[in-house]
Amino acid sequence: MKPFQHVNASTTDEAASLLHKSRGKAKLIAGGTDLLGILTDDILPAYPRTLVNLKTIPGLDSIKEDSKGLRIGALAKLSDIAGHPVIKDRYPMIARAAGSVAMPQVRNMGTIGGNLCQDNRCWYYRYPNHLGGRLICLRKGGTICYTLTRDNRLDSIFGGPEGCFAVCPSDIATSLVAMGATVTTTRRAVALQDFFTPSPGTILDADEILTEIQVPRPREGSRSAYLKFRLRKSIDFAMVNVACVLTVEGGLCREASIVLGAVAPTPWRAKGAEDVLRGRLVDDAAAEEAGQIALANATPLTMNKYKVAIARVLVKRAILASA
């Protein structure tokens, strides 16, 4: 890695002020599992002068539950979330999503804040500088998104509103958006679904820090399922993931929340599928139809039609698993 300075922050205010004063030359580090790969490969034209360590801020890794719901500090580790008794018991989908990230070692290091703020995994965007030079793609201020004319098997099947077709890689985002989570930053509080943008990925300003994630208590009687499809059962990112929360009363679906991940630049809400389930008996036919509707508007690229088929089946299975 090329040199940088390193500062341990003791409060979020201090970290924010360091970012502010650096005028874009400082970067936050949480678990480092995403950032250090980026710095090793030197993929971005701007290399940070300073890393500001968030792990030294006391209390930012807390996990608490009150009458409204769950509050997870941005620095909570994925392994602590996956193994937390209250989360496993009352918010099992979040534990499953956290437990599906990468592999045990990465979960022992990576944080939930870093997971939501992680950069995308497009292999053109990530192309190492030391192997013939980084690629200045659209997302880095260049003129083209390489996925359009080259290998796009992992990219968006729901378009690229800003011209970049890289997908949001976060597993936890999918489950949290389906649960109606909100987040607090040093500057604002927003619904998690509005936190993500196609490019650069989040609404965060250069000197803004994600501090907490809030998850409302699941409705009485609701059930959820989180499914992830990947090539290897460990280490790999999702090719598609689906989070589904259903409230079924008297055999009929009262409420449905269905979100797909790794299919679009931001977590993708399957509104049509949710609508078709409401008021219906959740059986095989309804789940099948919801899967069809969820993918009806897909616009796959030249090499990723297979993702449409996977997503359709995953939506169906997630619905049946939470009915």
Partner: protein, 180 residues
């Protein structure tokens, strides 16, 4: 350990039970990974480096008993941490009798022995990481099922594909450790 006279900040580590004080700007730079420090500064070459991107597990070490990747960990962020590498697994108890009295036994750890007995490696590139992930598992779960073992080692790639023997070795080491 030589006396430190300068006022440079230090990174204090306990590596395999031995305290290490590393001066920032001398032995450690802010951008050094723990993997680099272990291998190139402390000459503990048992910790391997494969992908250096957090994707293979060959650089696994234990921090406070939990497996982490030394290639994506900054040494400067390990101040105060206790790190276990493969070198730390050997038996360090001292012989009290016989001609070798006073020296450590150097006996292999049950996992190391079981890996040898079960041919649980070919090239050996993944072995340190595999054994450390397994050690963390056995410390928290002395009687793991096959699925527990596979899950605990799922972040360690073996490009030689020795997985079945590795699972056997961990089972066997679990038995040996329990009977100890």
């Amino acid at each position: 350990m030589k006396q430190r006279t300068s006022r440079r900040p230090t990174v204090n580590l306990v590596i395999n039970g031995n305290p290490q004080v590393l001066e920032v700007g001398v032995e450690v730079q802010p951008w050094h990974t723990l993997n680099y420090t272990l291998r190139e500064v402390l000459s503990l070459k048992g910790t391997k480096v494969g992908c250096s991107h957090g994707g293979c597990g060959s650089c696994t070490v234990l921090r406070e008993g939990k497996p982490i990747l030394s290639c994506t960990t900054l040494t400067i962020e390990c101040n105060g941490a206790s790190i276990m590498t493969i070198e730390g697994l050997r038996d360090t108890s001292v012989m009290t009798a016989g001609g070798m009295r006073g020296t450590t036994t150097g006996n292999l750890h049950p996992l190391q022995q079981a890996f040898i007995d079960n041919y649980a490696f070919e090239c050996g590139m993944c072995t340190s990481g595999m054994i450390l992930s397994a050690e963390a598992l056995l410390n928290s779960n002395p009687d793991p099922t096959e699925d527990d073992i596979k899950e605990a080692l799922s972040g360690n790639l073996c490009r030689c594909g020795v997985y079945p023997n590795i699972v056997k070795a961990v089972h066997e080491a679990a038995k040996v450790k329990k009977n100890d």
